[in-house]
Symmetry: D3
Subunit: 133 residues, 6 copies
């Protein structure tokens, strides 16, 4: 029993089904995971967020595996169990090995350590780092 | 004027200098950034954290650029200005282009959006995602 | 089985019962939820936090529904499952509809996205925004 | 001097200008704030995020002031100085008074307090709160 | 120039002055720091939060130095520059030495690292840890 | 069933067993908790993080109980259920009483409240707080 209703394909409106169909086609899969079933309570949000993710995760200057690794790392850092689980699966599908996961997690842990130290000690940004591009 | 003293090479103990030297050698650079100068107030922490970062960021199953992108993404997600700036510079040194930065930030933004939605709607983890490896 | 003891009305001290009674009277309900039963391990904290919440959530320049929506939004953003659940129920009692929840969650998601982008890109505050009132 | 380039209207591509024009028209203003100038480094992100915000913040079941209050509350809770400043200004434009700001901040503070206590004490969700709608 | 008005003693209402006086008496100091001057825009919040802090930080099962160290550690972990600075000063007044600060920060960094790893790997709580008291 | 494999002593490599043995010896216990069993998927991380924690938590300017209280407070503030549970047990072993826990949690709650208020109101750091040591 979920907190809000998870809307299954069979009971979904045509508007929701169209998004579900596009998710399954784009991801070459035959099922919809719970995240979308929850968002389907708000069809415009379902469409907007799906379209955004599709655009953001499409191959570009970064390849799909690197993109999924970044998504997973941020989700792990935020402690979002759902997103860790779904993007962990997505990263594995793109080729993430157990060794890659170990290295990714080590970076997540180290970044959280040094982020808290840099903030905690109120370290001023070095002049040379003030401009990136 | 910083919150805690930033220890310069010239005034550092031999113990601290040894770490500073290793940082400069490993990174092929001739200066020390403020993060280490703040940590140098606690020499064992300076050594421990430097040794850990050196180990974590060494090439492995993930290449150095991917590692820096992950570090930068977590730092951006955590809003640590110092770490964004220093690891942004490090990622650029490893080859990050402005387009890669744009795609990385788009993923950071999207992950933070969907992390808050998955948590906010209390979406239950799908059975298929409960085990990764 | 909870991590700390949840103190039931029947076993509570007079000091704790007085707070429980006030909670039930103020909220026009006949039960006490687990949050207070956990806080009751520290009676001064129980009283202090209840008195504070009663004061903060009382009608003022903002009406009770708006107040509960804000409380829920912050809790969703923080990913606190307990607070999402209890303040979701409280917001519903004040009139929150499923459509309002959808819009609220969409804002929470968007705010988390743009917060991480503004921090991640280290966007400087515009001169015109430096002073509010 | 910003970390990334802030792209001014005069130097922007037609694609970016089109978004800038829509922002100014929609918000009935004659200037563009820094957030969009930073995002303009990645034109598809600029368009995607602007279109999303426009959709999310449009009047619906919640009125524009309530929406801005929620956005501001989440930004304050996340400690995003840029977003606090820009959405504080937007909320004021929609009618937020100093008294409303005081009440909003009091809720943000209280929610962060009780969120940390509910998580810290690992309070189990009450059966009655397990289902919302 | 601050974002909201910082209310000085000379211009404060009698209600606000009474709290300012109590802060100075309790802390044996002759000035008011900016946090209270900002809260003074909402006098009931000023009183409520001051009374709460006075109660929470009073000697109890934990001594004043330990209490300030905990406050500082949480503030450093949250990256709140204002609170780090003000509670750093308070901790120093209670006897915190530079060495103690170094050890405290090392724990903050380590906790943030292992918190992100425990969440990131979704480590299940051991049976023996499920009940504390 | 855990998300990643929890590596038991009996199936562990010699490298992992050596760390497990050191954990049990150092902590005077005869079992290994799940955190280490998850980290054991990445033996260098297991060793590195264990050695770091051993060093950080050893008695120094702060005694072992104070160190565990700080670790617990940060974990509670971060909402890491695993770390709250394991470091709660460790703090109890070092002498934390229920009353101490209550006071610790009250500080965690108060710090999270005032951290969000100081950030939310964008309170400028007082001149006197700009330098600590």
């Amino acid at each position: 029993m979920a907190w809000v209703r998870l809307i299954e394909y069979g009971e979904a409106s045509a508007e929701v089904r169209a998004v579900y169909d596009d998710i399954m086609t784009t991801r070459r899969t035959d099922w919809i995971n719970n995240f979308w079933k929850a968002l389907a309570n708000d069809p415009p949000a379902l469409r907007r967020i799906w379209e955004s993710i599709k655009q953001v995760m499409a191959p570009g200057a970064l390849d799909p595996l690197t993109k999924e690794l970044i998504y997973l790392a941020v989700s792990a850092s935020n402690g979002c169990a759902y997103c860790i689980s779904s993007h962990g699966a997505a990263a594995k599908k793109q080729g993430m090995t157990p060794q890659m996961l170990g290295e990714l997690m080590a970076i997540v842990g180290m970044a959280n350590q040094t982020n808290s130290l840099a903030n905690g000690y109120r370290v001023p940004v070095d002049e040379r780092f003030e401009k990136l591009f």
